[in-house]
Symmetry: C2
Subunit: 400 residues, 2 copies
């Protein structure tokens, strides 16, 4: 029987190639979104953070448990766009001046939050028999911070304006730049030679980028905003906002800084101008509420449970996670001791999630041949576990 | 010198593989969005429809002019999601009762809008020396309607509530089902045998789907909406809305109906419940304003100007376009004559754009071996050209 079934198959193939109506794509979106939101609802009812629920939804539907979905092109693209707009919206809810006021504390927190985990990771890995360069690489993966998770939790609690939240956000920008430089140094050392000129150039570019956005673009946009209405486009403020967000994310990525840092700075630069734009905030929220679940589910789907088939790797993964949590808590907490013990814990715990940043560092290690599959599995576990551990502690720490 | 450059390359590769920070992805988004919005602004200033500007932006940056971007996985995914949410938001602005009231007119418009273009296309293609089955296939490609374009223009003008707009929307649903059946028949005939059972099953499934959504789901949702607030999730109405949109798009796609028809029906079913949800409408608008430009630019990027290297193909492409415009105007216009001449023109012109639907039909023809490259190029031209022609006429027709 030649008939609809054949046509269906031919149609599916060509339509998939052309991006037409594509049931597979919609199925992926539907499963990931529905699972994320079901788990978020469940976790909220259990008085746990929705973020942890959505990451666990990813673990659950991911390749190692139910195998309903795997990280794929679609989920990766939506996750990437989702976290860019998440940090953009966090920036829009933050005043640049409020970040500058805590600049010194943020710098100390970021510095200690990079140095202590690298040192702790180095000592721990050497104890496990790793080579010097391996130990340095794992230490670097432990120094990375994924600020998206903490930002999502604090934004949901309406706590982005608190002093410790502002320190976490400021420290995340500095942390990313420091982490970038350390990664460049360690990775080039792994290949036999340190390239000081290139590292210095990257540092200068990153600082210049932050300076230009903060000192020139932000005040310029605040002055220009009243004229946005001269455009004939509908929703002109929103359009300018998302083009700026993508533009600065692109600029950041092209000089080696994380795209989300560019998006965060774009949000900061627009924060004052957007203050009374209720509809623009709702429109941005539409994008983030739709796309951020893909970011969270995608992290959960990366959890590779096969590390738990071997006793040595279990110990490595659990030990690495413990060291990762302890060193960030300690390093960042000491850096924020002037906020008192509770404030120091808020900041320290806010910097604990490694999320996708730790995973990316480990992948570079894999690419340059320093990290093997077993180490990679352990780092993956550490990255996802720290991301899951932090939110349940952040909630009580930030609620009165 | 082993250094940052190597690390950068290694990082880019692994990060692209993992979906981490991916400058190429952001570059694509930025170029497409910025070009679309610049052209939209320009066209609006020239008193032309923004939609045509955004499609032309795609032609301009596409592979045949500036070659800054090509249709790719990212643009296809975002285009597909964009048009799904576009039709969903159009559905949300439409009352089911208002569509039912024009049901009879819509059915006549849809029927004539399928029969006349197939007949016209058949005669035209036979005149150009095509085989019977080729002529039927091209006729089917001419019968497809891409309601997204018209919906975007009318929504921008605040004209979705007018009688002729409601007829166009209702006719689009029926048109899609009729087109599906004709396509199945023609494509199976092309493979040598008509499968009446399969075609009948498809027809029954499509009608059952529309009936279940219209008669059961829509009133059920209106009754259930006051209880949505019992969920503990933030933005629970919006979450339910987008999960329902994807769910019905998926259901439609899996029985062979276009995903956008499922999304439109989901919007219709929620329309009454969402009437006073200002923030939900703004959140949906955030998604559509961000994603619909990718749908429009993607159509423009498909325009293959290489058909214009050969005189015969130029004539074929231009003739096909003329027949496509004339037959839809005539068929649908006659079907809507009870609205008066202006109303009939509004409906006829509203059904002219073929957009991505015509392209998909031609691709199926290519896949089953009936359509060759030259014919395919001409259909592609017809699909994009009809999509560009309609908006500039729709604006004066709908403005008083």
């Amino acid at each position: 029987m030649i008939g609809l079934a054949n046509i269906g198959a031919a149609a599916t193939e060509t339509v998939e190639a052309s991006g037409g109506h594509h049931a597979g794509l919609i199925l992926t979106l539907f499963v990931m979104l529905a699972a994320a939101k079901l788990c978020a609802e469940l976790f909220t009812r259990l008085k746990q953070p929705a973020v942890a629920g959505e990451i666990l939804a990813g673990v659950l539907i991911g390749p190692h448990v139910l195998n309903w979905a795997s990280p794929n092109e679609v989920s990766n693209i939506l996750a990437e766009i989702g976290v860019i707009f998440l940090l953009f919206s966090v920036g829009m809810e933050t005043k640049p001046a409020a970040i500058l006021r805590v600049g010194r504390s943020a710098a100390i927190v970021a510095l200690l939050g990079v140095v202590v985990p690298i040192a702790g990771g180095y000592v721990f890995m050497r104890g496990f028999g790793a080579s010097t360069i391996q130990a340095l690489f794992i230490g670097t993966a432990m120094a990375a911070t994924s600020v998206g998770i903490t930002a999502r939790v604090l934004s949901g609690m309406g706590q982005l304006g608190s002093e410790s939240a502002r320190i976490v956000l400021g420290a995340a920008v500095i942390d990313d730049i420091l982490g970038l430089l350390v990664l460049a140094a360690v990775a080039s050392a792994a290949q036999g030679e340190l390239n000081y000129v290139a590292i210095g150039t990257t540092a200068a570019l990153a600082l210049a980028f932050v300076g230009i956005v903060g000192l020139l673009l932000a005040p310029g946009l605040t002055k220009a905003a009243p004229y946005f209405g001269r455009l004939r486009l509908d929703n002109e403020f929103f359009i300018i906002a998302i083009v700026l967000c993508l533009g600065l994310a692109l600029a950041a990525a092209s000089i080696g800084v994380a795209a989300i840092i560019g998006a965060f700075l774009a949000g900061l630069a627009l924060a004052e101008a957007a203050e009374k734009q209720h509809d623009v905030h709702q429109q941005i929220r539409g994008i983030t509420e739709f796309l951020v679940p893909f970011f969270l589910v995608n992290i959960g789907m990366q959890l590779n449970l096969s590390v738990f088939t071997e006793l040595g790797t279990i110990g490595l993964a659990l030990g690495m996670t413990a060291v990762a949590v302890a060193t960030k808590l300690l390093g960042c907490g000491v850096g924020a001791l002037n906020l008192g013990r509770r404030g120091a814990l808020q900041v320290g715990m806010g910097m604990v999630p490694r999320g996708e940043v730790g995973i990316v560092v480990a992948q570079i290690g894999l690419a340059v041949g320093v990290v093997d599959d077993r180490l990679f599995g352990a780092v993956l576990f550490m990255a996802v576990a720290t991301t899951l551990i932090a939110p349940p502690f952040l909630r009580p720490l930030y609620s009165r």
